[in-house]
Amino acid sequence: MKTIITFLILFISSFGISQTKISGKVVDEKNNPIAGANIYIDGTYDGATSNEIGEFTFSTSEKGNKILVISFLTYETLKTTIEIETYQNKTFKLKESINTLDEVVINAGTFEAGDKAKNTVLKPLDIVTTAGSNGDIVSALQTLPGTQTVGESGRLFVRGGEADETQTYVDGIRVAQPFGSTTQNLPTRGRFSPFLFSGISFSTGGYSAEYGEALSSVLLLNTTDMATENKTDISFMTVGLGVANTQKWKKSSLTFNTAYIDLAPYQVAIPQNVDWNKAFQSLSGEIVYRYELERGLFKLYTAFDASRFDLNQESINSVVKTRVDLKNNNLYVNASYKGNFGSNWQLTTGLSYGLGNNKIGLDNQRIENTEHASHLKLKIKKPISDRIKLSFGADYFITKFDEKYSFITNQTGYNSNILAGYTEADIFFSKKLAMKVGVRAVNNDLLNETSISPRTSLAYKVSKSSQFSVAYGEFEQAPRQDYLKFTSDFKNERASHYILNYQFSKDKRTFRSEIYFKDYNDLVKYDTQIAQYNSNFNNNGFGFAKGLDIFWRDNKSIKNLEYWVSYSYIDTKRDYRNYEAEVTPSFVAKNNFSIVTKYWINDWKSSVGLSYSFNSGRPYDNPNEMSFMNGKTKSYNNVSMSWAYLLSQQKILFISISNVLGTQNVFGYDYANSPDSNGVFQRNEIIPTADRFFFVGFFWTISDNKKDNQLDNL
């Protein structure tokens, strides 16, 4: 008997008992059958693949409640509990996976340059291989629509906004002093070496509630997450020397990068429009340390920069030149942590400290100013589902600014604390329709003001390769340092953005067009020649900007040629500062056009770049005329060339010439404060520091992997 039982048990266990048939159908959201879906009972071999009409059938010996898994490549995996005994033929609907490339992207106002970004229009490489940009991130961004080329400044002017309406963030944390210090009409450049950043996102409006204290634009730079190998980069340039080294360990890596720039030898060789006593000299460097933790990544970014120059600046108001000498020391430290906790919560937090110190001499007078600026940030993100992502966070900005003069006893300055909180939701209604809604609340204790700024954007995909987006937002920013140091009796300046964007992107070709309207309110006005201690300030200024931005990029039509074309039309007027009326400010050209090309010549192992930019004339105020801001400069033209020659895999020779044709560009005019004996106000042209700029560099990479070079740094 026992043997029989044993036998039976063995028999049953080996061959199973009763088999249940499981069958059904798999369809997509439009009820079209899905062929090739994988259907199985989790933890068993029992399953099948759906046929041409989406149907499947298989047998199982399982009993009770089991999990049925249905997966297919581009769809969300469906897991559903079934009771085997009572299971009846069913139809299963799979949702298209949102995590695929062709989903809609909310991109009104934003240009992405990064390898992870889905709506990338530029690659990190492009930022730096653009002819004429000389490795300056900002000057490469000036080839994008929505920006103004303001040659005498070197900063970012976006859609009728002033340079200080753009805020820069590194790894989500503010950089208070993103540009080198300079004097009037002498262009500056960004402090950041493009080589440390893997992602750049440049928004010309309508950006997320995460970012504040910016009326026009935000520039988001993300440092590289992890170094890939140990290497050393050495650069010899006509303007200086540079060394960079990366060390990589199991969980951490360290990159340092330092450059010494001295323009003296260069300025001896090439005639200058500026009378230098001591050419621009700087020692700068950056250090990035990254440490991988169990569930996150810690990054420490430090940048220092010490620079000086000394020159005699011509002034229309005096026969003798004014001697200007400037010493600037800058330190920036940024520590951030990004990681996960709990179930899918994402935490980004960090703090930054920036110290900027300027010692300026104007003939015998001395001015010294110091700014301490900190930002504490906390951001939490939680995907509620694949379709809804919630984020919220807080910012705390602390700024302390002091300025001392040798010729006045009292000093000026201010302490400001800004506390801000925001919340935002990303909602994907489908693969075609997505929305972002957010709100930011800000309290500025110096201005004693609390304000609320709602922001929202919506994107709709009309076909596989094209989509529309709209964005609306309210933006606020405390008045600039130049005013706050005299009084804090201000309100925030404000702007509203309305943006409509259309993008078509297919097969390495991208077309993008955007129309926008911007409404400015509460801009600062004053009643003196320049803002000073006895000016009467108020917040009664206002203005608007509207325009069209067009961008076309094509990497496909011609083999080995990549190019992009930008065109911006802008109509803007504002009544602010000491303006007599609402007029177009002097930094705005109505028409901006640029084309950037890069051609790879295989036989020469060379990449040749050519770029051209054109601006129509910019307004200037001629006091000899009755009406205000009525003059217009001639148009601006600049053709630049660059040539990168790969001597070997790890040695590159790079040559670039800006303004090859030597066009005599005029940015504007400085008029005398008072008329001469004939009753005429005399003027000086504001022109570039040199007509052409030549750059020759030799870059050498030493690494284990012989394939590496610095091409992406140029």
Partner: protein, 208 residues
Amino acid sequence: MTKVITTLVVFLTTVLTVNAQQYEQGMGKAFATWKTGNATEASALFERIASVEKTNWLPNYYVALVNTTEAFNPANAKNATALINKAQTALDAAELISPNNAEILIMQAMINTALIVQDPMTNGMKLSAPTIELYERALKLAPENPRAVFGKADFEIGGAQYWGTDTKPMCEQVAKSIELFAKFKPETEFHPTWGLDRAQETLKNCGK
């Protein structure tokens, strides 16, 4: 008592053998399906085996291999990204089961190569160095693994041809890998053995 114990032992071994049999049958069927060219079905079969064999890295490894191989096929250009993603997810699962596994590192290098082929301008710059490093790590763990030797040499040949530098050292490595293929003994019949035909193909064109 003895009988009960015997019965239990027999029972348990039977269950285990049945499971092992199922595994062998399942893997056998999946390989046979793949051979007939039905990659979707083969991938589905490996996926189902993976759902049972939670401590075995091989089924997930093959999900990755099947989908990566498919991604290289120009006919699948439209779905390449989805295929690569699927391969990556499966390989991540395999690596959790078996960390520091040379075969998995080699597979990761293959996925990287597929990404480079997809978008050479963006991914070439970014992934070249990490890919070489993956092969080097694999070689450290298994110096005699023919796929690691061949994979690295094959990856380097592309660059060398472009620069006009000598491909001879790489070709020697390819030849060496062919010898290693002959000597290579997989742990079980289902452990990876692929690559010999590709190595022979590469050697045929080597130095030309």
